[in-house]
């Protein structure tokens, strides 16, 4: 039954896309890993043969820095942003840099996960927890377990200066009363490394240079399924979560294609593609991929987006002072 609904949905979406008959070029700035970005873009272009999508990939903070610089130069390049977190999107929206897409169909989604003004749209759920190498002597179950000196010495996390998900993770964790900034201070003092994005952490832990790390769920679970010697843990305190939102920029030169891209991502087939790539989809009707626990068993740490936005610079400066980058 559900399969039938899905295929009807798919047919419907495809036909609306075909009806809109969008053409031209579209520039996507994204923080998705290269491989996933290419797959997303290829699937969209297959559904919309008239559109050519060019994309640039970098960590959320870096891609945003590039976007800001181009804005300042008076030559913004991007039409669509697909980045890690909604905090950044809220900031852009407040500055009037986003274009709303009032016709977007978000009826299938739980209220609260999408922007009520339809300026940005959640595309998936990416949680950050603990990853460890299967040859590691300790199997951490909580963040507290990471403060053991020998664990910290072999621990690595993505830097909030390079990863949007890592930024949210830092904000969420430092808000947990029993952890707080003291937790990060301990990690730094005991020699934990903060470097680059999630890809670098996966490489270090899978390659055995580090044994423990903070990592986004899909990378660990997906690579473990391919045979990489890693295991993902949902820590007892909970995981932080980002929704990898997509948004259209107010300066877009091709609003029709940009809207089609957003529609594609939040459509059922788009969400199925997300699940096929190994992500937890945002759409409640799409089944999570292999290796994930049932969604309602995942404990997500609360965090205050408005506060996160105002404290962003201060938080990053504090982190840099501790970890030297």
């Amino acid at each position: 039954m559900r399969r039938m609904i899905l295929s009807t949905l798919a047919a419907l979406t495809l036909s609306t896309a075909a009806l809109a008959d969008v053409t031209g070029n579209l520039v996507l700035y994204t923080s998705q890993p290269n491989e996933d970005a290419q797959k997303t873009v290829d699937a969209f272009m297959a559904a919309n043969p008239g559109v050519t999508v060019e994309w640039v990939r970098d960590g959320t903070p870096k891609i945003m820095a590039k976007f800001r610089a181009e804005l300042e130069a008076g030559a913004p390049q991007a039409d669509v942003l697909l980045i890690a977190d909604s905090v950044t999107m809220e900031g852009l929206k407040a500055e009037g840099l986003l274009m709303a897409h009032p016709d977007a169909d978000i009826s299938a989604y739980e209220p609260g996960i999408m922007d009520a003004d339809k300026s940005w749209f959640a595309t998936k759920l990416i949680t950050t927890g603990i990853v460890y190498n299967t040859s590691a002597p300790v199997q951490p179950a909580s963040y507290a377990d990471l403060t053991a000196a020998d664990v910290t010495a072999a621990f690595m996390m993505p830097s909030p200066l390079a990863s949007g998900a890592a930024t949210i993770h830092m904000v969420a964790l430092t808000d947990v009363p029993e952890l707080g900034w003291g937790f990060y201070e301990t990690l730094a003092k005991q020699g934990a490394v903060a470097d680059g994005g999630n890809g670098g952490v996966l490489k270090a832990v899978a390659g055995g240079e580090k044994l423990y790390g903070f990592l986004v769920d899909f990378l660990a679970i997906r690579e473990a399924a391919k045979g990489a010697p890693v295991k993902f843990v949902f820590p007892t305190e909970g995981v932080s979560a980002v929704s990898e939102p997509v948004a259209i920029l107010a300066d877009t030169k091709n609003p029709d294609a940009a809207k089609a891209f957003v529609d594609f991502l939040i459509s059922a087939p788009g969400q199925q593609l997300t699940a096929d790539m190994g992500y937890l989809p945002a759409h409640p009707a799409i089944a999570p991929p292999e290796g994930f626990p049932a969604r309602d068993t995942i404990k997500i740490l609360p965090f205050d987006p408005a506060k996160a936005l105002t404290d962003e610079a201060a938080n990053k400066a504090r982190f840099t002072e501790m970890f030297g980058g």
Partner: protein, 575 residues
């Protein structure tokens, strides 16, 4: 009527004269304004006078924990690396320059490889050679245990690789100085009964002290500006240097931190310029005027030890140049990072991916090739013009431009790129378009940073030019452009060409300048390799590095061919 007829040729000749040297000077000054004065000036202006700048900003920067740390790391790593490089490079210079070793050109070529392979590629290669997932060490059964941090992710790792990269700089300075050593002195010492050891300690070393010092200072400045090594080894090793700190802040925060960046840029820029001028002053104070024309260098016979020295040198060079490249090749051949290399697992997929599939890498190869060729050609043209102007009535202005170029060369690359962003981020006045995000801004930064490289060989060639040629042409009525085109250009061409190839090599290999100037469509080879490694895609980074090193080798062989008939001292590895 007849008056007019007589006046007309004068007026025309006046105009013609104006269209000669003055026109060229105007063009050169315009170029200097755009390449040096505007960018470096706007960094200074922003750091000193902008809101948020000024002395308070310097105090704030210097009292920040991370800036203090980075500044100390920069000074410490550059000083130690330069010292190591001075010892090793100096010894190599003496050994190869003064002895009767065979294959000196080949040895020099191999030593030069240390600097011709770009820092980020060297760092990637060494990381893969020594890490726990080293394909090479695994095959030998010598890989460190899992969970061992890569030994290169440390202060020692950064300093060691920096030193290794600076060895050729000291080596070249030593070789050049040895070439000017008059033979009479050494022969006088030997006639008076000094053995080789005494000759070395009492005669040669004191005379070589200024060259050693110059080599040390050049190595120091070059290490200070290095980005690839401390970025890839120092960030995971918690050993962040000032250029890396600047890159981190700028790459993560964008233009909002430009004032802070300008402050740091001034800090490190001043440091570099002070180091270079101190060296120049000391060299002048220490140097002794040597009498006698440069001669064939001394050839001390090593006797039976020669074979062992040769074998030893080649073995060490193979270990530090070839082995890391093989480790990187091994990583490029495995299906995913961490898998052991064997005949069954080896695959060319990553090469196929970077050469044919990934749009970005294909674009990067094209961009880097185009940018380095254009930069090389423009530098050759500028060097030719500056040399010609230096002889004429505008010599002073031309020398001032040369000095600016040398300052820009001494200043770390990241300072140049920050300067270009500050100067050219806003749309150009009058035109309403910004060159930020285009190839032009990267080309401009290349020209500013590498012009000095191309000026050196051309300066040597101009100095060797017989002034009688120029006078003869002038007397025969050849105007300035004609003289430049028919007399100077053909005679200077070989030197200009080798300068151009040096610039091309440097631009092809660089990552520091484009690391913050790249945008969609203007990705360079360096940035793509760096971003792949930074993002965790080591296999792709390795495959791209291998291709780029092969291209570098091809360029070096080309330079070897082009420079066959040049005077000594222009092609670095030739005798």
């Amino acid at each position: 009527m007849s008056d007019d007829a007589r006046a007309a040729p004068d007026r025309w000749s006046g105009l013609r004269r104006l269209l000669g040297e003055p026109l060229l000077l105007a063009l050169i000054l315009l170029a200097a304004l755009v390449l040096f004065v505007l960018p470096l000036g706007s960094v200074g202006r922003l750091a000193l006078f902008a809101t948020g700048g000024g002395s308070d900003a310097f105090v704030a920067a210097l009292s920040s924990r991370s800036v203090q740390r980075a500044l100390w790391h920069s000074l410490e790593s550059s000083a130690l690396a330069a010292t190591l490089a001075a010892v090793v490079g100096g010894a190599l210079g003496l050994l190869i320059g003064l002895s009767d070793l065979r294959g000196r050109v080949a040895l020099s070529f191999a030593i030069l490889m240390l600097i011709m392979i770009p820092p980020h590629v060297t760092a990637i290669a060494w990381m893969q050679m020594l890490g726990p997932s080293s394909v090479l060490l695994q095959a030998l059964g010598m890989a460190p245990a899992p969970g061992t941090t890569n030994p290169l992710y440390s202060r020692e790792g950064v300093i060691g690789l920096l030193a290794l990269q600076q060895v050729p700089i000291v080596y070249l300075t030593m070789r050049a100085a040895l070439r000017t050593l008059p033979r009479d002195l050494a022969e006088a010492a030997r006639v008076n009964g000094a053995g080789p050891g005494r000759l070395l300690i009492r005669v040669i070393l004191p005379l070589m002290a200024p060259a050693m010092l110059a080599g040390f200072a050049l190595a120091f400045v070059s290490a200070l500006g290095n980005f690839g090594v401390p970025a890839l080894l120092g960030i995971p090793g918690r050993y962040v240097t000032l250029p890396v700190l600047m890159w981190q802040r700028l790459a993560s925060s964008g233009p909002s931190v430009l004032v802070d960046m300008a402050v740091l840029a001034v800090l490190i820029g001043v440091l570099a310029v002070v180091a270079v001028s101190a060296q120049m002053r000391l060299t002048r104070a220490w140097s002794v005027a040597l009498i006698g024309p440069p001669q064939q260098p001394l050839r001390l016979t090593l006797g039976r030890a020669r074979r062992f020295v040769e074998v030893g040198l080649w073995a060490v060079l193979a270990l530090v140049v070839l082995a890391p490249m093989l480790a990187m090749l091994a990583t490029a051949l495995v299906p995913t990072y961490g898998v052991r290399l064997s005949l069954q697992t080896a695959t060319l997929d990553h090469f196929r991916e970077v050469i044919f599939n990934q749009v970005v890498t294909v674009r990067a190869f094209a961009n880097s090739a185009g940018l380095s060729i254009v930069a090389g050609a423009v530098v050759a043209g500028l060097a030719l013009a500056l040399g010609a102007l230096q002889r004429g009535p505008f010599g002073g202005s031309a020398r001032a431009v040369t000095t600016l170029a040398e300052i820009a060369y001494a200043v770390p690359g990241l300072v140049i790129s920050v300067a270009f962003i500050i100067a050219f981020l806003k749309p150009l006045p009058g035109l309403g378009v910004s060159i930020y995000g285009t190839h032009w801004i990267i080309l401009g930064a290349y020209l500013a940073a590498f012009l000095a490289l191309g000026l050196k060989p051309v300066g040597v060639a101009y100095a060797a030019l017989d002034p009688a040629l120029e006078d003869a042409a002038r007397v025969s009525g050849a105007a300035f452009w004609r003289r430049l085109w028919r007399i100077d250009a053909p005679l200077i061409a070989p030197a200009a060409a080798s300068g151009a190839v040096l610039v091309m090599l440097t631009a092809w290999n660089e990552v520091t300048l484009s690391s913050i100037l790249w945008a969609r469509g203007t990705e360079t080879l360096g940035t793509v390799i760096f971003n792949y490694e930074d993002g965790g895609y080591s296999t792709l980074a390795s495959a791209m590095s291998i291709v780029s090193v092969l291209a570098t080798l091809a360029l070096m062989v080309l330079l070897h061919r082009v420079g066959r008939n040049l005077p000594p001292g222009i092609i670095p590895w030739r005798d």
